[in-house]
């Protein structure tokens, strides 16, 4: 469940999820361990440094997104949704990868995105005003989600809209 959350969160932030791997090797399986490590190192080598593989955002953009994502994953809302997924799994007694994928994708990731987008908006706008499309590109989320996060911040009085671009209030 945690692994699935990490994979989907990485994808969400513009990182190839193949950069993360979870494998099992018992204490007696040294040859298998060597095989796993060698295989993983080679696959990461093939991907190249962070931010250069196909479809990945540049390194500083990833850094900004990860800053917000770590904070978002710390937020009570996302922790609660993780707990709810665990509860849901126990209730249905269906621990298949497909079910986990569906529950995480349906509950945790939307909550995580919401928290991350609003956090990243605050830091991005602290550096100066910006238009919606620029913000959405940098944050790496659909414009609808960024728009609704912006609307929520405007409602709270933290952000103001001026001539099509957004600035921090006050």
């Amino acid at each position: 469940m945690v692994a699935e959350t990490a994979r989907q969160a990485l994808e969400e932030c513009g990182i190839n999820p193949e950069r993360f791997s979870l494998e099992w090797a018992s204490a007696a399986e040294a040859p298998r361990f060597v095989e796993l490590v060698t295989g993983f190192v080679n696959s990461v080598k093939a991907l190249g440094p962070l931010g250069t593989a196909e479809g990945e955002a540049s390194r500083d953009v990833i850094g900004e997104r990860m800053d917000a994502a770590v904070e978002a994953l710390n937020s009570p809302k996302v922790r609660t949704s993780l707990g709810n997924v665990a509860k849901g799994l126990k209730k249905t007694n269906d621990y298949s990868p497909e079910n986990i994928k569906e529950l995480v994708g349906g509950k945790v990731i939307p909550a995580l995105r919401k928290e991350r987008v609003s956090r990243q908006l605050m830091t991005a706008l602290a550096k100066g005003g910006a238009a919606l499309s620029d913000l959405a590109g940098r944050i790496g989320a659909p414009e609808d989600d960024v728009q609704s996060a912006l609307d929520a911040l405007v409602k709270k009085g933290k952000v103001e809209e001026k001539a099509g671009s957004y600035i921090l209030a006050g």
């Binding site: 990485l10 932030c13 099992w24 018992s26 204490a27 399986e29 040859p31 361990f33 796993l36 190249g48």
Partner: protein
Amino acid sequence: MAQEGYNPHILGFFCHWCCYAAADAAGVSRYQYPPNIRVIRVMCTGRIDGRFLLEAFKVGADGVFTGG
């Protein structure tokens, strides 16, 4: 995009009882494996949280290997 001689920084989370012991055994039996992994030993794979994984990428790891 792989450059010649490029050495990725990979962070490894190893369970004390499984993968860490396997790594130890691999060392004792002189198996060769790439030195790119920086290991963090945890007492159990279940201790690992999504935050640790994202934090690793935040500070610039090119990959994260979790061994249970």
